[in-house]
C-alpha cells in the first residue's frame, strides 16, 4: 500500500505547504517559453487535458509528441486518433520516453502509480516529470528518482476550456508548483513557468503553490460545493417540487438549466451579484435560508476537509480502487436511478430571470456551499486565492455540465476522484438536510414568492447587503476576476 506523503511531514512543514500560494505578476513570465524551447516534450495520454495542453504547447512553438500505452496504439483507440489526426508523432513508451527532456503525465489519477513506475526507468538522466494534479505525489507518496525534476502545472478548467481560451488569445487560471524533494538542478520553477506560458495560463493568472495545497484544496472543492452540493441540491429540489405538485417536466428543467443560469451571475460578480439578481424580499429569503444551511452543513464541510487533510479520504477511495471500484460503480448506478435524472426537462419556456425568481433555494444552496467551502479551506490554512479558484470560480464550469446532460454528464466529465468524493458528500448531506427540507414550500423552489410576501424591512435589507458584500470570498474574488476581464460568456 502507498504511503501518504503529507502525513510523513512534520506539522510545521504541513502548515507551510498548505499555506503556499502566491498570485504571480505578469512580468514574472517575461521569459515566455524560453526554458522549454528546443526541449523535447512527450505527453503520456491524449485525453481531455493531454490533447488540449499539447495543442497549446505546440502552437506556442514547442516540440510536442505523444506516448500511449501499447494497447491504445494497437487498437487505434480514441486517444491514438486524437493525437494522430492532429498531426502529432505518436510512439510507445520505449520509443519516446528515453528521448524526452520533459514528460507530461496526463493519464487519469488512478493510473498514475503504475504509469509512473513503468516510465520512470526509461526517463533520461536529469529530465523533468510533470503532473496536472498532485494526488500521486501527495496522497500516494510516489517516490521519484532523485535526478528527475518534478513539477505541476494544473489548469483550473476542463481541457476543452484550456484549448478554447488559448485560441481566443487568452488562457485559463493555472496553478503551478515544484516538488521540493525533486528539484535537483533548481530549474523546476523556470520550467513550470514556461509550461504555463505555453498553455496560455499566464494571461489569466497563475498561482505559485505547492503540490500539497493543490491537492488538499482541489479535493475539498470538488467534493463539496462543486459537485456534491449540486448533486444533493438537484435531488432535493426536484423531489420537493414534485411532492408539492409542480409539473415534473418543469421541475426538471428548472434544475437542469437553473444551476448554470444562476452561477453565470457568480462568474461576473460573485455571490453578491448572484443575490442581487433577486428581488429584495427574495434576496432576504435566500440569505436567511443560506444562513440556516450553513449552520446545518458546516460539520459536514469540516469532516470532508479533515478527511482530506489527514488522508482518510484518499485511503478509503484507494481501497475502492483495489476493490475494482465497487462503491464507485454502485453509486454511479444509483445516481442514474434518481427521479431527477430520469425525468426529462419539459418543453416549457423559462426566462433567465425566472430561474432566479423560482429558484431561491438553489441560490441559497450555492451561496451556502461556496462560502462554507471557502471558509473551511481557509480555516485549514489554504490561502484565499486557492480557495477562491477551488470553490466559486469553478462552480459555473461544473453547472454547465449539468445543463448539458444532468448529473450523468457532470459525473462523466469530472475525474473519478471527484466523482467518488461527490457521492460521499451526497450520501451524508441528503439525510442531514431532511428536516430542513420539511419546511420548504414552493415559494422558494418552483413558484417564487407571492405578492403578499412583498414587504421588506429597510434595516434588514441594509444588513443583508452589507453581510453579502463583506464576505472574504467577495474581496478576493473582485481582485482575481479583475485579471480575467472580458471572460467568454458560457452559453
Amino acid at each position: 500500500m502507498s504511503n501518504n506523503y503529507f502525513n510523513t511531514l512534520p506539522l510545521r512543514e504541513q502548515l507551510a505547504q498548505l499555506a503556499k500560494c502566491r498570485f504571480m505578476s505578469m512580468d514574472e513570465f517575461s521569459d515566455g517559453v524560453e526554458a522549454l524551447k528546443g526541449k523535447k516534450i512527450v505527453v503520456i495520454g491524449c485525453g481531455a487535458q493531454g490533447l488540449n495542453q499539447g495543442l497549446n504547447l505546440r502552437d506556442s512553438g514547442l516540440d510536442v509528441s505523444y506516448t500511449l500505452r501499447a494497447a491504445a496504439i494497437a487498437e487505434k483507440r480514441q486517444s491514438w486518433k486524437n493525437a494522430t489526426e492532429n498531426g502529432f508523432v505518436v510512439g510507445t513508451y520505449e520509443e519516446l520516453i528515453p528521448t524526452a527532456d520533459v514528460v507530461l503525465n496526463l493519464t487519469p489519477d488512478k493510473q498514475h502509480t503504475p504509469v509512473v513506475k513503468e516510465i520512470m526507468p526509461l526517463m533520461k538522466q536529469g529530465a523533468c516529470l510533470s503532473y496536472s494534479h498532485g494526488f500521486n505525489i501527495v496522497e500516494e507518496g510516489m517516490q521519484i528518482r532523485e535526478d528527475l525534476t518534478v513539477i505541476m502545472v494544473a489548469p483550473k478548467c476542463p481541457g476543452s476550456e484550456v484549448r478554447a481560451e488559448y485560441v481566443r488569445g487568452f488562457g485559463v487560471p493555472t496553478l503551478i508548483a515544484v516538488h521540493e524533494d525533486n528539484d535537483p538542478k533548481g530549474e523546476g520553477l523556470a520550467l513550470a513557468k514556461a509550461y504555463a506560458v505555453g498553455t496560455g495560463g499566464h494571461k489569466a493568472g497563475v498561482l505559485m503553490s505547492s503540490f500539497i495545497a493543490e491537492v488538499k484544496s482541489d479535493l475539498m472543492g470538488e467534493q463539496t460545493i462543486l459537485c456534491g452540493m449540486l448533486q444533493t441540491g438537484s435531488i432535493l429540489c426536484f423531489d420537493k417540487m414534485v411532492e408539492e405538485g409542480i409539473d415534473a417536466g418543469y421541475a426538471s428543467k428548472l434544475i437542469q438549466y437553473g444551476w448554470e443560469t444562476i452561477t453565470e451571475a457568480l462568474k461576473y460578480g460573485g455571490v453578491t451579484n448572484m443575490l442581487d439578481r433577486l428581488s429584495n424580499p427574495a434576496k432576504i429569503k435566500a440569505f436567511d435560508l443560506a444562513e440556516e444551511l450553513k449552520v446545518i452543513m458546516r460539520p459536514l464541510y469540516n469532516k470532508h476537509q479533515d478527511d482530506i487533510i489527514n488522508g482518510t479520504f484518499s485511503r478509503v477511495m484507494m481501497e475502492d480502487w483495489a476493490n475494482d471500484d465497487k462503491n464507485l460503480l454502485g453509486w454511479r448506478a444509483e445516481t442514474a436511478e434518481t427521479n431527477f435524472e430520469k425525468t426529462p426537462a419539459g418543453d416549457v419556456e423559462i426566462s433567465e430571470q425566472e430561474f432566479f425568481d423560482n429558484g431561491i433555494l438553489m441560490v441559497a444552496m450555492v451561496k451556502a456551499g461556496v462560502e462554507l467551502a471557502f471558509e473551511t479551506m481557509t480555516a485549514a490554512g489554504i490561502i484565499a486565492e486557492s480557495a477562491y479558484y477551488e470553490s466559486l470560480h469553478e462552480t459555473p464550469l461544473i453547472a454547465n455540465t449539468i445543463a448539458r446532460k444532468k448529473l450523468y454528464e457532470m459525473n462523466a466529465t469530472i475525474s473519478d476522484t471527484a466523482e467518488y468524493g461527490c457521492y460521499l458528500y451526497n450520501h451524508a448531506c441528503l439525510p442531514l438536510l431532511a428536516d430542513f427540507m420539511k419546511d420548504i414550500k414552493t415559494d422558494v423552489i418552483g413558484k417564487g414568492l407571492s405578492e403578499t410576501d412583498n414587504g421588506v424591512d429597510n434595516a434588514r435589507l441594509i444588513e443583508v447587503n452589507a453581510a453579502l458584500r463583506s464576505h472574504p470570498v467577495e474581496a478576493i474574488g473582485a481582485v482575481l476576476r479583475g485579471h480575467m476581464a472580458d471572460m467568454k460568456k458560457i452559453v
Binding site: 502552437d59 489526426e85 492532429n86 498531426g87 481566443r168 488569445g169 472580458d486
Partner: protein, 480 residues
C-alpha cells in the same frame, strides 16, 4: 395618378454617355419615392426616365404620365440654354432683353391662381418683369419650381430641389409639398437621407454597376426602420470620402522580405481518418496579389485557409511557408497571426464576449477575441477613427453582442484591418447577410482594397459578390 408606372428589366441609355441597366421598378398609387445613391449611380437618370427621357434599348417602360412636373439642374440648364439661343436668334439691332419672368410663369402654368400664390410666397413679385436669363441660379430655380408645381402635373419629379434654396424658401417649399401629397405622386432625388421629407414612403437606392453604368440595387420601405437605418450607414460609406485609418505607428509589425511570397503551400494534404479533403495542393500568394478562392461546400476552402492561419492542426505535417516561417520549426501561432487579418462567420459566432464595439476593434491589435490587456491611447484613437468610417461613432461603447448581425460583421472587418495586416482573409464575408448588409460589407471591403497595402484573399462562392481589383482565382473541387 390612378394607374401605376412600371419598369420591367429596362435598360435605358442617355446619349451613349450613361446607361441604366436592368431596372425593375413599380410606382403605384399613394406612393412617394426618394431616389438616392452614390455619385454616378444614375439617380438623376432614373428620375429622367420617368419624364420620358433616354432611349429604352431593352425591357419595358409603361404607364408614364403625360404631364410631368420636372425640376432638375439639367432641365434648368436646358431652359437657360434655350433662352440664350433666342438671344442669338435675334437679328437686328434691337437690344434683346429675353423672356420676362412673368411670361415664363403665366404663359406656362395651367393653374394661374396657384402660380400667383407661389410667386408671392417665393418672393418673386418684384422680379416679374426681369428677364429670366438675368436671374440668379436660386431665382431661376424658384421659377422652375413654380412652373412644375402650378401646372397641375400627374407626377412631380424633383431632382435635388433643395440645393441652392435659402432657408425661408426651403421651409415654404417643404410646407407646400406636404400640402399636395394627396393630389400628386412625388419622386425626389436626394443625396442625403436626413433631407428626406416625412411624406416619402419608399426609397430607391442606386449603385454603380460599372463604368458609366448604374442600376437600381435596393428598394427600402420607409416603415422598415431596421432597413432604413442600414441604408443610412450604406450611404455614409458610399458617399463620404473617408480614408482608411493609419496603423499603430508605435507598434509596428516586423518587416517582411519583399522578395518572398506571403504564402507558399507545397503539395499540402488535409485528411480525416481515411477521407482526403485536399490532395496535394500547390499555391503561392505573392505580396500584392489579390486572390479569390472558391469551391463548393466540403471542398476544403476553410481547411486550406486554416492551414495558412495556423488554426488547422495539420499545418504541422504539411510543407507550409508563411510570412518567412517554414511551419513546424519552433514559431508560435501568434507570430503567424500577427500578419493576418481574418473575418469569417465562425469568428463571429465565437466572438461571444460582452465587450464594447471599440474594444472589438482594438482586439485586432492583439489577435484576441475580447481584450485582456489595456489598450493604449493611440489604439483607442485609431479604433474611434474606424468607428467613424463605419458610421458607428455613436455606438463605440455599446456592447458588441447587442448589435445587428450586419453591424457585427462590419466591426469584425475593421478589427481585422486595424493593424494593416499584410494579408487580409475574408472567408465568405457576406454569408448570412441580407442584401443591404451585403452591400455595406462589400462597400467597406472595396474601400479597404483601394486604401491600403494589404493583400486580400477573398473566399466566396457567390459570383455576384465580386470585388474589384481581384485578378487571381483558385477553385477547389469537392473530392468524391
Amino acid at each position: 395618378m390612378n394607374h401605376s408606372i412600371s419598369l420591367k428589366k429596362a435598360t435605358v441609355t442617355f446619349d451613349e454617355r450613361f446607361t441604366l441597366t436592368n431596372i425593375d421598378w413599380d410606382i403605384t398609387a399613394n406612393q412617394h419615392w426618394m431616389i438616392t445613391g452614390s455619385n454616378g449611380s444614375g439617380k438623376s437618370a432614373l428620375a429622367a426616365v420617368l419624364a420620358g427621357m433616354g432611349d429604352i434599348t431593352t425591357g419595358q417602360v409603361s404607364g408614364l404620365p403625360e404631364n410631368v412636373g420636372l425640376v432638375s439642374f439639367e432641365a434648368q440648364a436646358e431652359l437657360i440654354a434655350e433662352e440664350l439661343k433666342k438671344d442669338d436668334a435675334d437679328i437686328m439691332d434691337v437690344i434683346a432683353i429675353g423672356t420676362p419672368v412673368r411670361e415664363m410663369i403665366f404663359d406656362y402654368c395651367s393653374d394661374q391662381n396657384l402660380a400667383e400664390q407661389l410667386v408671392e410666397k417665393f418672393g418673386l413679385s418684384s422680379l416679374l418683369d426681369r428677364a429670366f436669363r438675368k436671374l440668379s441660379t436660386g431665382e431661376t430655380r424658384k421659377v422652375m419650381l413654380i412652373r412644375a408645381l402650378a401646372n397641375q402635373p400627374d407626377l412631380l419629379i424633383l431632382d435635388e430641389p433643395f440645393d441652392g434654396l435659402d432657408a425661408n424658401t426651403l421651409d415654404m417649399l417643404q410646407e407646400h409639398l406636404a400640402s399636395i401629397v394627396n393630389q400628386v405622386p412625388i419622386v425626389m432625388v436626394l443625396n442625403r437621407l436626413d433631407e428626406m421629407p416625412s411624406f416619402i414612403t419608399h426609397i430607391a437606392y442606386m449603385d454603380k454597376q460599372g463604368k458609366d453604368q448604374g442600376g437600381l440595387s435596393l428598394i427600402v420601405d420607409r416603415q422598415d426602420t431596421t432597413a432604413f437605418n442600414e441604408l443610412h450607414q450604406l450611404l455614409h460609406l458610399k458617399t463620404t470620402e473617408l480614408e482608411v485609418p493609419e496603423a499603430d505607428s508605435s507598434n509596428q509589425l516586423p518587416k517582411l522580405d519583399p522578395a518572398q511570397p506571403l504564402v507558399r503551400l507545397k503539395d499540402v494534404t488535409i485528411k480525416y481518418e481515411d477521407t482526403i479533403i485536399v490532395d496535394k495542393l500547390n499555391w503561392t500568394i505573392e505580396q500584392g496579389q489579390h486572390w479569390q478562392l472558391s469551391g463548393p461546400n466540403g471542398s476544403g476552402k476553410t481547411g486550406v485557409l486554416s492551414l495558412i492561419t495556423g488554426d488547422h492542426p495539420q499545418c504541422y505535417v504539411n510543407d507550409i511557408f508563411v510570412f518567412g516561417f517554414q511551419r513546424g520549426n519552433g514559431e508560435s501561432i501568434w507570430q503567424i497571426k500577427q500578419f493576418i487579418g481574418y473575418v469569417s462567420t465562425a469568428l463571429q459566432w465565437e466572438y461571444r464576449v460582452s465587450t464594447s464595439c471599440r474594444n472589438v476593434i482594438i482586439s485586432g491589435f492583439y489577435d484576441s477575441i475580447g481584450m485582456y490587456s489595456k489598450a493604449t491611447d493611440n489604439q483607442k484613437k485609431i479604433a474611434n477613427e474606424w468607428l467613424a468610417l463605419l458610421g458607428m461613432k455613436d455606438r463605440a461603447d455599446s456592447p458588441f453582442n447587442k448589435l445587428s448581425y450586419g453591424d457585427q460583421r462590419l466591426l469584425l472587418i475593421a478589427r481585422a484591418m486595424v493593424k494593416h495586416p499584410p494579408l487580409l482573409i475574408l472567408d465568405e464575408p457576406c454569408l448570412g447577410l441580407d442584401d443591404l448588409n451585403r452591400q455595406l460589407v462589400l462597400a467597406l471591403i472595396e474601400k479597404i482594397c483601394q486604401g491600403s497595402e494589404t493583400t486580400v484573399l477573398y473566399v466566396n462562392h457567390h459570383a455576384e459578390d465580386q470585388i474589384r481589383g481581384i485578378e487571381n482565382y483558385l477553385e477547389l473541387v469537392k473530392r468524391q
